[in-house]
Point group: C2
Chain length 334, copies 2
């Protein structure tokens, strides 16, 4: 049994999403707390812009929770940049212990999970957790210089510009309680996909493994969840996930939604063929659209499963396949 049930309450008391222009113009745009039209966020490099987005999201989540910044006991965060510099540099602005995480696009679920264990274990009272990404920094690090204007293959996804942050607390505020109750950490799964422009195919087996284990461990069915959200499989990856689970006699078709599929509309610039990806994709969808619905009581219980492709440009240039991981948290409003 490798699903952890939290006995003590872990409440989501604060939440904030900062989104870029493209994300703000998409179908979920109205659910984000802040949409920034300037891709530089007023800074001189895209890397500095990404840091500023982190700081804005972290401060927004603290403000939303109503706790004082001095009551935050720990900050857990991660991003896609080498040495997670967006998170680390943003952490300089906060007088709180910092735990750096790397789970690629699975980081929002990973940070929620570790933060929940720290609060639920009675070790701390308030954890601030975050994940994010910026299209321009990720694109040039993982793929091509933007200036080249390279053509994107049809399996490609578009790295979301956005940061989501959440405050987890042992005691709640005035809002209706939104709680994290169960955690299933992902195993590293590698089915041999080598195409760095097809993250959905690389990550779908990891998502299937975590979802299947979670349902088995908790003796629940897909219909027991108001929704099962995956982070950023994209349109093609989501199809693979449903096929893989169906092969194991698990039908998630009625409840499954993928944040990568949801973030952009077909009417937007067609370069985001398979939808969105990036650590920010699941992070802003959770802290925007999904949190809105949770707070309105539209769901009793959801499963949030963020997936990450654990490649680096070096590992791919050296001919390796792409390992992936998916971490899952159960969020309830009962």
């Amino acid at each position: 049994m490798d699903t952890i049930k939290l006995k003590n309450p872990v409440l989501i008391t604060g939440s904030f999403s900062v989104a870029g222009k493209r994300e703000g113009a998409g179908p979920l745009g109205s659910t984000f707390n802040r949409v920034e039209e300037d891709e530089y966020f007023g800074m001189s490099t895209h890397e500095e812009a990404e840091r500023e987005m982190f700081i804005a999201a972290l401060e927004g989540a603290i403000s939303d929770s109503g706790v004082e910044e001095s009551d935050i006991d720990v900050l857990l965060a991660g991003d896609l940049l080498n040495q997670i510099t967006s998170s680390s540099f943003a952490a300089r602005q906060f007088d709180t212990p910092f735990i750096g995480l790397y789970g690629a696009c699975s980081t929002m679920a990973l940070s929620l999970a570790i933060g929940s264990l720290m609060v639920g274990g009675g070790f701390i009272k308030n954890a601030l957790v975050a994940a994010g990404s910026h299209f321009a920094t990720a694109e040039r690090q993982y793929r091509m210089p933007l200036e080249l204007g390279s053509t994107r293959p049809p399996t490609a996804q578009w790295t979301a510009t956005g940061v989501g942050a959440t405050v987890l607390s042992c005691r709640g505020g005035n809002l209706p309680p939104v709680k994290i109750t169960e955690i299933t950490f992902g195993k590293v799964v590698d089915w041999g996909v080598v195409d760095v422009n097809d993250m959905g195919a690389a990550m779908a087996p990891a998502a299937a493994d975590t979802i299947a284990r979670h349902l088995k461990n908790t003796k629940t069915k897909p219909e027991d969840y108001g929704a099962i959200y995956t982070g950023d499989l994209g349109i093609f990856g989501a199809k693979i996930l449903k096929k893989l689970l169906k092969d194991e006699k698990i039908n998630v078709a009625k409840v499954h939604r993928d944040c990568g599929e949801m973030l952009y509309s077909d009417k937007q610039n067609g370069c985001n063929w398979q939808g969105a990806s990036g650590a920010g994709c699941g992070a802003i969808t959770l802290n925007g659209y999904i949190m809105d619905r949770l707070r309105r009581g539209e769901y009793k219980k959801i499963l949030f499963v963020a997936t990450g492709a654990l490649l680096s440009p070096v590992s791919s240039f050296q001919g390796n396949s792409i390992p992936a991981v998916a971490h899952a948290v159960v969020i309830e409003t009962k």
Copy 2:
């Protein structure tokens, strides 16, 4: 109070250190479980070699602990490579949930700390944690291609080749108990150092902050510890640390030792001017030399403080200073 005291026992039941040739030839060489003369570890790239070292250390620690691999509930690991590919790729070999961490050279303490919270919080029974680095992979990623044979400035340290792994359990084996009892997570500290060849100066303020906070929180004095080990400040960095603490009326001179100072001898190739660095430096010293002394009962209590410089080549090229962090764990044998 931001030091966490573990109420439930968290025992170190397994430990293993895999070291490279230079590390094996140094003063601590006899304390490592395995010294590998081949810098390629029998593989075709240095990156693959680093992964193999991780796998060897992880398997060694499991074997040392006496638990079955199937009893390991979670693997927590990190390394210095972009997207921590050494850890993630090694994790493919283990059928256990994986939590990726990034704390640069502070990762051994970070992984011990999070693993201890998971075991001490009653969430799991056995955690496998690890950190490591390889000179050749780190050098070309952070500094220069090795083929250039660049001259190393006098403040430079030499990235250690080695991986250390530890098994943390809620119940002990036949060995005398070695326990993790307290944790102080580090804050991100940045005093404006910009010299990427002077990691000791960048990291010393973070180490001083964590040590001072830990002593204050726990109302202890340096003499209450058999030793206070820092991870890889090096000779110059260790001097700065002692000066900074002395300014705060804390004298650690009698009990402080730095793994970076200890790993090589002056008689070895002089390029390691200020000693060793790297996530592997503290990891193999802890899981080799220090663990030997703990198991022999030579210490009642030590403080292990691993330090990390949270820069990336991009952040430095863009003119940023170097943020740093230091995480501390108390290990007792009483």
